[in-house]
């Protein structure tokens, strides 16, 4: 056929252009440091199947999920048309007809062409009519160009088939094209000229699409699957260690990121789901997880002409804004890892001493005294003085449960009362427990996430040494942040402790019938899932069981469980100032609870939450409508006086 040679030339030119446009990315990945992401292939593949085959995260936003699924499936079906279009003229004699190219495959192509247009129509409706805020900052022209190319590809495909039908082909397997054939016929276009015109438009649009992709977010068509396949299979709560090959603890140029971290940048679809759930973004701070990724991606594309990474491409304020709540990573459909990048860049800032005065004070206190408040170690266990019974020193005698109390539960006067309640509950249930007294240090969870790896190692080693010298069966923590460090981060030092949160231990004691509690009359309360208990460690159910056991009815907020909204204190944010914050995340959260209209208690299970939300309720002046209570305050042994529930005005 006469068109074979021109088509070969066109295809080879397009492929060469595509390769040329991809060269920087390919070089960057080829030169990147190694990452160990090749283990457990079946598990990895399974994740890809769930993420792509089932559209698991995509469907959390139903309209987006459904329209994407339509476009996605249509692409696969229409790929047969692409094979046909190129195969038939590149290799004269090639045809799909023997396997049904003119019958059932033709019918599928016909129907899915129409469906594809429906999918694109929904996408247009979403992007230009609904205009979700998560698209703010995404490239509008990139999306528009792709819509145009898809419509061109599909429309030309249909019209080419229609032209063939006008020329006498059988249209019985192509209902949509047949309908279009009627229109073409009336327009008086010559069947052969029409077929040729639409064929070349189709070929041209596909090749244009191919050449366009390397510079577009539509790279994700090729990179989403590998990016999900090579996702991290480590426990969610384990922050990546500093690789031994790296000279300094942190990262200050893109090339120092391993290939998976760089692949993340190229896989971003700019969907903005991360931005929509980010507490720092909602607070008006200069951090959008989406722009964090796309800014680095653009710098990768710019190569050596880009500004310096830390303090240039990504500002220091952006890095310090993150609470490490992990909502972005939980939301990302292509498994981009935002936090390891932020932590690695923070490590660089900390190593250079570029920290805010608040953070410097907290870290200096931690270096000197092992707690961020600057209180002497000897005062750590002072909360025990007002208990009616002594607490065992786990360093002196064996205990069943070693209680790692944590800084806030130990020192903060607003939380000490709750710490004593937990001690009373354990005693009422007959638990044999002890604490480390002045030998306990901050667990280092947030120190590590603030980028202070060296100090984290010092704190962790000190705690591990003390814990290992004790005789115990399990560790219980009050603070979900300590839970995460002891359970996950301490694995770096080969420490494998059985660690559980106090809500899990209490739920276990109640289930075993060891705690006899006052039962409330079903009054409604809401519960805030702490990031480091829920999203990080899957502790969603025990707190809910406790609320039920105490006789309360749980009215969950819209953002609950995996979608919980951070209080704003994590990752070292609690030590930073509020500069630039337009709405504190904690106040945003309290408004969410108030909008439920029928809860008097805002139940928390993290000492920092008690502090954050008590302050937020006071700042909003709603102390008469809502009270932040720790879950331990709801659990009252029958031997004590029952809790009096405040009356609630429901709106």
């Amino acid at each position: 056929m006469a068109s074979t040679l021109p088509l070969w030339i066109l295809v080879i030119t397009a492929l060469a252009l595509t390769a040329w446009r991809s060269r920087r990315y390919a070089m960057a990945l080829a030169n990147a440091p190694a990452a160990a992401r090749f283990d457990r292939p079946m598990l990895r593949l399974q994740g890809v199947m769930v993420a792509i085959g089932m559209h698991r995260k995509m469907l959390r936003k139903p309209l987006s999920g459904v329209l994407h699924a339509i476009i996605f499936i249509s692409f696969f079906v229409l790929f047969t048309a692409t094979i046909d279009a190129f195969g038939s003229r590149l290799f004269p004699g090639f045809s799909l007809a023997p396997i049904g190219g003119e019958t059932w495959i033709a019918a599928l192509q016909d129907i899915f062409s129409a469906l594809m247009l429906v999918g694109v129509g929904l996408a247009l409706y979403q992007r230009y009519v609904l205009r979700p805020a998560r698209f703010d900052g995404s490239s509008g022209s990139d999306a528009a160009i792709i819509y145009v190319l898809i419509v061109l590809i599909v429309a030309s495909l249909l019209l080419e088939a229609a032209a063939r039908i006008v020329g006498g082909s059988d249209g019985s397997w192509r209902p949509v094209a047949s309908a279009l054939a009627g229109l073409l016929d009336r327009a008086g276009m010559s069947a052969h000229a029409g077929e040729e015109l639409f064929y070349w438009v189709h070929i041209g649009a596909i090749l244009a699409f191919l050449v366009y992709i390397p510079g577009s977010k539509h790279r994700h068509m090729f990179l989403a699957a590998p990016n999900i396949y090579f996702r991290s299979l480590e426990p969610r709560g384990l922050a990546p260690a500093v690789p031994e090959a790296r000279e300094a603890p942190g990262i200050d140029s893109l090339g120092q990121f391993d290939w998976k971290q760089q692949l993340d940048l190229l896989s971003c679809t700019e969907c903005g789901r991360c931005q929509a759930v980010c507490p720092a973004y909602a607070a008006g701070l200069p951090l959008s997880p989406k722009l964090l990724i796309t800014d680095m991606r653009d710098a990768l594309a710019a190569g050596s002409s880009a500004a310096p990474l830390v303090g240039g491409v990504i500002s220091e304020e952006t890095l310090w804004a993150c609470t490490t709540c992990r909502a972005c990573m939980e939301a990302c459909p292509v498994e981009i890892e935002h936090l390891p990048k932020i932590i690695d860049m923070r490590r660089h800032l900390v190593d250079e001493g570029r920290v805010s005065p608040g953070l410097q004070e907290a870290l200096s206190n931690l270096i000197r005294l092992g707690n961020s408040m600057g209180k002497p170690s000897k005062m750590r266990a002072r909360w025990t003085r007002e208990l009616g019974f002594p607490v065992k020193d786990a360093r002196e005698e064996p205990v069943d449960v070693l209680w790692f109390v944590g800084d806030y539960a130990s020192y903060d006067p607003r939380v000490q009362e709750i710490t004593r309640k937990v001690a009373e509950l354990l005693t009422a249930a007959g638990v044999d427990f002890g604490i480390l007294f002045d030998a306990e240090r901050n667990s280092g969870n947030d120190v590590r996430r603030a980028g202070e790896e060296g100090l984290f190692e010092t704190l962790a080693q000190s705690n591990i040494d003390e814990i290992k010298a004790c005789s115990f069966n399990r560790i219980m923590t009050t603070d979900p942040h300590s839970l995460n460090a002891l359970k996950n981060d301490y694995q770096h030092f080969g420490a494998a402790f059985e660690v559980l949160h106090y809500t899990a231990l209490l739920a276990e004691l109640i289930a075993a019938g060891k705690l006899d509690l006052h039962v409330a009359d079903g009054a409604r309360v809401t519960y805030h899932d702490p990031c480091y208990l829920g999203r990080y460690n899957g502790g969603f159910d025990a707190p809910r069981e406790l609320i039920r056991a105490a006789g309360y009815t749980l009215h969950d907020m819209p953002r609950c469980r995996e979608n919980s909204f951070c209080c704003g204190a994590g990752g070292g944010r609690i030590w930073q100032g509020d500069d630039g914050v337009t709405e504190r995340p904690s106040e945003n959260r309290i408004r969410e609870a108030l909008s439920l209209g029928d809860v008097a208690y805002f139940v928390v299970a993290c000492p920092k939450d008690k502090v954050m939300y008590t302050a937020a309720i006071d700042a909003l002046g709603v102390a008469d409508r809502l009270k932040a209570v720790d879950i331990a305050e709801l659990l009252v042994p029958r031997t004590s006086q029952a809790l009096e529930m405040p009356p609630v005005e429901t709106s």
């Binding site: 603890p249 900390v350 190593d351 001493g353 920290v355 005065p357 953070l359 410097q360 870290l363 200096s364 270096i367 000197r368 005294l369 600057g374 209180k375 002497p376 170690s377 000897k378 005062m379 202070e452 790896e453 060296g454 100090l455 984290f456 190692e457 010092t458 006071d618 102390a623 008469d624």
Partner: protein, 254 residues
């Protein structure tokens, strides 16, 4: 330029202070110690001078926990660190240590001795003047900026109410630092861990040579006042409670 910086360890004010049996000192056995804040600024100023024009910085620390602070000083950029032995469980008297500091300044061929303007155990701010007098070097205290130009120093001293004077003096000199030109920097845990391998020199104290002038006869801790009362957040109950308190104190009629 050779700079000698003095770092004094003082009782952590956040700790619970208790009187020793003699009633003339605080019981130091259960206390945590921390670097005197002004000395921290002196160290920072020394490092800033080193960064600005080159210098060899020797840090000498005295008191409990000196080693830890010297490692920190090394991580910040001190070239040599020395622990000056001192009497255990005793406060650091400027009169007592001045001779040792002066001897060390000579031994290290120091051009500049920096120390904090005062400490909680030397509110007179005597260390810099004592050392200056013993060495017969010029001395300025209360500095908040030091600029070195060869052997000439420009030293700014704060006089309150925003008034600042700048002196020009030639090295060798002794300066009591109030604040460094820049806030003391943060030194990361990984740098501290590296610096923990720095060898720490030892120095034995010299006899002070001073006659006793005055001595502490009594020390008093702050008396615990009456505790505050939280009146709550409800305006009506707060008003009621306020009225009844005022009435009980005879300040208002009920």
């Amino acid at each position: 330029m050779n700079i000698l910086v003095v770092l004094r360890m003082i009782p952590d004010s956040a700790g619970e202070l208790q009187l020793a049996e003699d009633g003339r000192s605080i019981d130091r056995e259960w206390l945590d110690f921390q670097l005197n804040d002004f000395d921290d600024h002196a160290l920072e100023e020394a490092i800033l001078l080193k960064e600005a024009g080159g210098a060899k910085v020797t840090a000498v620390a005295v008191g409990e926990g000196a080693n830890r602070v010297l490692q920190m000083a090394a991580a910040r950029g001190a070239d040599e660190v020395v622990a000056l032995q001192s009497e255990e469980d005793a406060m650091i008297s400027s009169r007592e240590i001045a001779a040792s500091i002066a001897a060390m300044a000579r031994a290290k061929s120091a051009d500049l001795v920096l120390c904090g303007v005062q400490s909680s155990e030397d509110v007179f701010g005597q260390l810099a003047p004592y050392v200056g007098a013993l060495l017969d070097w010029p001395h300025v205290s209360g500095t908040n900026r030091i600029v070195a130009n060869g052997a000439v120093l420009r030293v700014t001293q704060e006089r309150g109410a925003g008034v600042a004077v700048t002196y020009e003096l030639a090295t060798p000199a002794v300066l009591g630092v109030q604040t460094a030109s820049k806030a003391p920097r943060y030194v990361s845990g990984s740098k501290l861990r590296e610096a923990s391998k720095t060898p720490i020199g030892r120095a034995t104290p010299e006899s002070s040579g001073f006659e006793r002038s005055a001595e502490i006869i009594t020390l008093r801790l702050p008396v615990q006042g009456g505790s505050g009362e939280n009146l709550g957040g409800n305006a009506e109950t707060v008003a009621d409670r306020l009225v009844s308190i005022l009435a009980a104190k005879g300040l208002a009629r009920n």
